[in-house]
């Protein structure tokens, strides 16, 4: 029994944030489906997508932010580990972005009438995704490891602020179908129902933690691969 609790304590020390992330997403799945939501026309029950579609984007941005920080570290210190982390965080973020696009298209089909409206947010997200696809291609194009690390870190450092502007600033200038866009978002603070808010934030941070976890696993695998290559 004592052995088990020691094992669990050891587990918690190493895995606590991973377990937290899983618990948060689990919470959002359970209460996202069962919780009380406002009855709004057109949206109907699909308002629950707020717990699943929107966190994809929020988690993407947070992962890109962490990747941005690791890119700076990678440029500063030139360590391979920071480069791998930045790269894998960006990859996971792009994956979440693709999921966000796909789920958004499903949602839009049933609420806005078609999968792709010429909403300013959609268009700027499309540009933003292309920038990050450019990042993937750039990394594949450069063979030399150190050069690749430096060039892609610089690219990432420039890409992140552009992406933030594209997603959060430009859509506010024009009218948008997305809530909180078009005009001053300060007036829309009551858009998000108070019952929904905690579940939504749980989902955002839960998915972010899981994204960081998966990125960590991927960068560790690549680190092992490099290690094996170097010692051959």
């Amino acid at each position: 029994m004592g052995c088990l609790s020691l094992y669990l304590a050891c587990l918690m020390k190493k895995f606590w944030w991973k377990i937290l992330g899983v618990a948060m997403v689990l919470f959002s799945i359970i209460f996202g489906l069962l919780g009380k939501v406002p009855a709004l026309p057109i949206l109907n029950e699909s308002i629950r997508n707020l717990y699943f579609h929107v966190p994809m984007w929020f988690a993407m941005i947070l992962l890109l932010l962490v990747a941005f920080i690791f890119s700076i570290i990678s440029l500063n210190k030139g360590t391979q580990k920071a480069d791998l982390r930045a790269n894998e965080l960006t990859n996971s973020a792009i994956f979440l972005g693709v999921m966000g696009l796909l789920t958004g298209m499903i949602w839009a089909t049933f609420t806005w009438g078609k999968p792709w409206t010429n909403d300013p947010k959609l268009n700027s997200v499309a540009i933003g995704m292309l920038i990050y696809l450019g990042y993937i291609i750039l990394r594949q194009a450069i063979e030399d490891r150190e050069k690749r690390a430096r060039v892609s870190a610089v690219f990432n450092i420039f890409a992140f602020p552009i992406f933030v502007v594209l997603i959060f600033v430009l859509p506010r200038i024009e009218d948008s179908l997305h809530p909180g866009n078009g005009g001053n978002p300060g007036f829309n603070t009551y858009d998000l129902d108070n019952n929904m808010r905690p579940i939504f934030y749980m989902a955002v941070f839960g998915w972010t933690l899981i994204g960081v976890w998966i990125s960590e696993l991927r960068s560790r695998i690549r680190n092992i691969e490099y290690h094996i290559e170097e010692n051959e």
Binding site: L217, R220, I224, H227
Partner: protein
Amino acid sequence: MNKLFTLLALFLISVSSAFAEADVEMAFDMRSNGKIYVVVAVLATIFTGLAIFLFLLDRRISKLEKQHNIDND
């Protein structure tokens, strides 16, 4: 004049709230007959399974790191 204005405002507010509550179709039945819990349970199981899968993958990678003497930080 002022009173009239207040009255008008009150009227407008009550009308708009009446509109807001006008039958928006929500899945009340889905929840009241209880079966939605089944779906929630299924989703929770799938997600927990995925989490355990990730967790095992994590341990396997740790083992590989130990084999190759890579410190993971």
